[in-house]
Amino acid sequence: MSEMRFFIDPIRCIGCKSCMQACSECATHKGKPMIHLEYMERGNSTQTVPMVCMHCENPTCAAVCPADAIKRTEDQVVQSSLKERCIGCKNCVMACPFGVPRYYPEMDQMLKCDMCYDRTSQGLKPMCATVCPSEALFYGTLEEFQSRRKGTPINTFDFGMQEIKTRVFLVAPDGYVNLSMDVMHHLDGRFEDGAYDHLDPFSHLEAMPMSGGLL
């Protein structure tokens, strides 16, 4: 059997946070979700993106950990910090290009998604991908994904000088998608006049008609 993969398809995400709620059910998490959901720009869109750990081939979080607290298993799952080693320095939190690890002050420890290691190591799906109503989070083989779904799974990302290959795939729409990320240019663009006008589906409407809703 070919290797099980994890796919994130943000277009399908409906922002329901079912993944986070299910993640928090793991007995070791005690009600805390280890994954999170980002609103891109709630003012302009209902687009949301669920973020699990991307489980990098060469995890930056582990590379910057001064205490060697972050381990990668033989089956390429990057684990949460080891309690006895983690010194709570938050280097990993700042270094991860995907913004995944979280520091929990009450435990003085970094915790993050470990792809439900208790389940996936037993042949089960991760909790978030099991419950996700729209399959924005999907766990299966690459062949299974390609046989039943549209979109292009991508697992190589450029962050400036750094190229990162991940075990988790991000699903881009079909066709060519430029994944080079010029963050500063994007941020500046947000403040230009009319930056989001093209996103307004109601641009042809008056703000407050006074005569029974007629145009």
Partner: protein
């Protein structure tokens, strides 16, 4: 008379809502459990399969149930956290009586005796119909059937109705007019085979989340998605064509689409000729409904209306899905039959990948409404005014036909009559009209006028706080029975635990009251399965025919689609349920071969002319107000506003407003704003988003007290379905004054209290995560 005895603050302190976070026994027990019980979610009409983890007679967690074909393990956040309503600190554990100082614990004997003596007293003084009953469709089908029989034979009142009246009765009435039967036309697998999916007036991502997967599967197969809604809701964001219609204009859009379909020759003439009637009148009615005409009413550009009509008309297969956005109106039935007209005119019904379905908002909205706790229906979807139907049910119940009361008042009409002083007593079960009915201030006044009110529930809801006697009932996991999901699948709810404390199963409470009213002989049941066996007989021959369905079949086949009628002569005439046959395979897809359920076997067109909503905007109230749901809350919030993680996800109601309207009104994101209609006002925070029409604001409805948007909605009813006009009101929005902000903050403070949590639980940290 029935005024809440304590201040709001004192009531919250005593009875919640308490935000409950920890499973019974603490988080350790999530891994340790005695057994898994395969059952279903207690919330919306999808009725997802779920396994509950049980330890020491308490539900301690969940495990995905991947073997159930509808959801295959998928769940929305409500399903994931549903288990937290068990072992909840607010749970009602013993009967209570209202005193001037609050509620005091009393014995079951006293509680039942006081209820029964009040029923007798009020009915002797004012007549039998002066005592009304209100029921809920969170109940299993067995309980719904029992409530119908109980009200008619034990209370002997005509005035029984149910909270499905606030849900999809417009769809039910419209479906009956068009197709002669009240059910989704097909199982959800048909969605995946459609080439075009037209969704109107339903936020499926937040109200029916698992259904989004069916839509995506269709789109993976090349289907186009057309989405009509005043808000760009999550699925609309991705649609191939988005139609941003103004609230209350659904039928104008639908009529115009039919106009284009007829004009461009996209009708299925053979299907129309062979399987339908009334097309000529409908053709005549839409002849002037050009896209340009509809554009002015709906606010959708004419070319988009043309495109939608052509996509739907030209596609080989197609599906129409709608829900409350279109049905919660004084024109709800007209909107639904307008959808049916599209399906019938193009022959897109009764075959693979085709259909027209309503999305049922409430758990057992489908099964509950079929078997007799609706004011105008008897079991099997029978008409209470039809002498033959009455006689059939009278024979099953062993009474004279004349002993069954006639058609009663609908839910809002019952409240109206209570307010007018004509109905004096009320018994309700799992219904929270103070939050879920429109014009909440009026309804509060009504409840305060009652001479007696007994409530059966498991939490003390906003409405239950007006009760004289409180009888603690059961949660879904504390009893067994069946429900029917939105796609028409009868499924089995299994008992996981027994009711805690002195709480009892709902049906046992009703039986106790019936016995004390001296009507016990009509209620000889030992368990709910016996109720289902009687229901099978009672539904036989009705349109909602469950006679071929057994609990065993439901378990074995993972659900059976009704109707499943009798196939043998023996079954058709049997007097006992043991003699009914179970050969019919069930009916996942209705209307195959163009066979409809009207006596003439045809689908009926219903000509609809456009008319305005009950209230329209003017210079005084210039903005359209519409309401709806958020994914983490369910209906009136009685259950979900008590589950901490769900509350954290969307803690308080907010008003969505477009940036251009916000600019006009000088409102910034997160400002306190006051929304006002002719019925009342509410102060909430604004959420400035360009995903809503600039002439419309939206507020979700799950909250009570001064956070209840239903203080602002109107009691105007659809003339056929009697559903209130929740989705369209005229309002005015302004920046809140300091006094109004104080009220808003006070309302937030009183919306719930947090349970005491372990020190290291990290609650604040988690709350930030969920409410970002």
């Amino acid at each position: 008379m029935a005024k809440v005895p304590l201040t709001r603050e004192e009531m919250v302190d005593l009875y919640g809502p308490t935000l409950h976070y920890t499973p019974a026994g603490g988080f350790k027990t999530i891994e340790e459990y005695d057994r898994l019980v395969a059952t279903h979610c207690c919330f919306c009409g999808q009725q997802c399969g779920i396994n509950l983890k049980v330890k020491d007679n308490a539900v301690v967690g969940f495990e995905p149930r991947t073997d159930f074909p509808f959801n295959k393990g998928k769940l929305c956040p409500k399903g994931v956290k549903r288990y937290l309503q068990g072992s909840h600190p607010d749970r009602l554990m013993y009967p209570m009586k209202r005193t001037e100082k609050g509620y005091e614990r009393i014995s079951w004997d006293q509680a039942l005796e006081e209820t029964v003596s009040k029923i007798k007293e009020i009915q002797a003084k004012y007549g039998r119909d002066s005592f009304a009953m209100l029921s809920g469709v969170s109940l299993t089908t067995e309980k719904s059937y029992l409530v119908g029989k109980f009200a008619r034979l034990a209370l002997q009142t005509a005035n029984l109705d149910y909270n499905g009246r606030l849900c999809m009765v417009s769809a039910g009435a419209g479906n009956k007019k068009a197709y002669g039967i009240d059910r989704a036309s097909n199982h959800w697998e048909d969605i995946t085979k459609a080439k075009v999916i037209f969704v109107i007036g339903t936020n499926i991502a937040e109200c029916f989340p698992i259904t989004t997967d069916y839509v995506w599967r269709a789109r993976d197969n090349g289907a186009k998605l057309i989405y009509a809604d005043p808000r760009m809701v999550p699925m609309a964001r991705t649609a191939d064509l988005y139609l941003p219609l103004r609230p209350g204009t659904d039928s104008a859009l639908l009529i115009s689409m039919l106009h284009v379909i007829i004009r461009d020759g996209l009708t299925d003439e053979k299907f129309i000729a062979e399987h339908t009637s009334g097309f000529e009148e409908t053709r005549e009615a839409v002849k002037d409904a050009t896209p340009e005409w509809a554009a002015k009413i709906t606010g959708i550009p004419a070319h988009q209306i043309e495109k939608a009509a052509r996509w739907y008309g030209e596609a080989e297969t197609g599906m129409i899905l709608h829900a409350r956005g279109l049905e919660h109106q004084t024109k709800g039935v007209e909107n639904v039959v307008s959808c049916a007209n599209l399906a019938l005119a193009t022959g897109k019904i009764g075959r693979e990948g085709c259909g027209h379905s309503t999305i049922t908002g409430q758990g057992n909205g489908q099964g509950g409404r079929e078997h007799g706790h609706k004011c105008d229906q008897l079991p099997g979807n029978r008409d209470i005014t039809n002498p033959e139907h009455r006689q059939y049910i009278a024979d099953i119940w062993g009474v004279e036909e004349s002993e069954i009361p006639g058609k009663g008042l609908s839910a809002q009409e019952i409240l109206n009559e209570i307010h007018a002083g004509n109905i004096k007593g009320l018994l309700s079960i799992c219904f929270n009209p103070l939050v879920s009915l429109p014009d909440a201030n009026f309804n509060r006044e009504a409840l305060e006028k009652l001479e007696h009110y007994t409530v059966i529930d498991f939490f003390l809801s906003e409405t239950a706080q007006h009760a004289d006697i409180v009888l603690p009932g059961s949660l879904q996991e504390e009893d067994e029975g069946t429900t029917t999901s939105g796609e028409g699948r009868v499924i089995k709810i299994n008992q996981a635990i027994t009711p805690p404390g002195e709480a009892k199963k709902d049906w046992e409470i009703l039986l106790d009251i019936a016995h004390r009213l001296g009507r016990g002989k009509y209620f000889p049941y030992q368990n709910t399965k016996e109720i289902f066996e009687e229901l099978r007989l009672a539904s036989r021959g009705g349109t909602a025919d469950y006679s071929g369905i057994t609990w065993e079949r439901v378990e074995k086949e993972n659900g059976v689609f009704w109707p499943a009628p009798q196939t043998t002569e023996k079954g058709k005439t049997a007097k006992r349920s043991e003699d009914l046959d179970t050969h019919h395979p069930g009916t996942p897809r209705l209307f195959e071969g163009g066979k409809f359920y009207h006596p003439d076997g045809r689908g009926h067109f219903n000509a609809v002319k456009w008319r305005e909503s009950g209230e329209v905007v003017d210079t005084e109230y210039p903005i359209w107000l519409t309401t709806g749901r958020v994914v983490s809350q369910y209906l009136s919030g009685t259950q979900t506003r008590r589950i901490g993680p769900l509350v954290d996800q969307y803690p308080n109601p907010r008003m969505e407003i477009h940036p251009r309207l916000a600019l006009k009104l000088n409102i910034q994101d997160n400002d306190w704003v006051t929304v006002k209609t002719r019925r009342g006002q509410i102060t909430v925070r604004a959420m400035v988003v360009n995903t809503i029409r600039p002439d419309t604001v939206f507020v979700p409805y799950h909250w009570g007290g001064k956070q209840s948007i239903n203080m602002l909605t109107q009691r105007a009813l659809d003339p056929v379905s009697k559903i209130p006009e929740f989705k369209v009101s005229a309002c005015v929005v302004s920046k809140a004054t300091p006094e109004e902000i104080r009220e808003g903050e006070e309302a937030q403070r009183l919306s719930g209290k947090t349970e005491k949590l372990p020190v290291n639980y990290g609650i604040n940290d988690r709350r930030r995560e969920f409410s970002r």
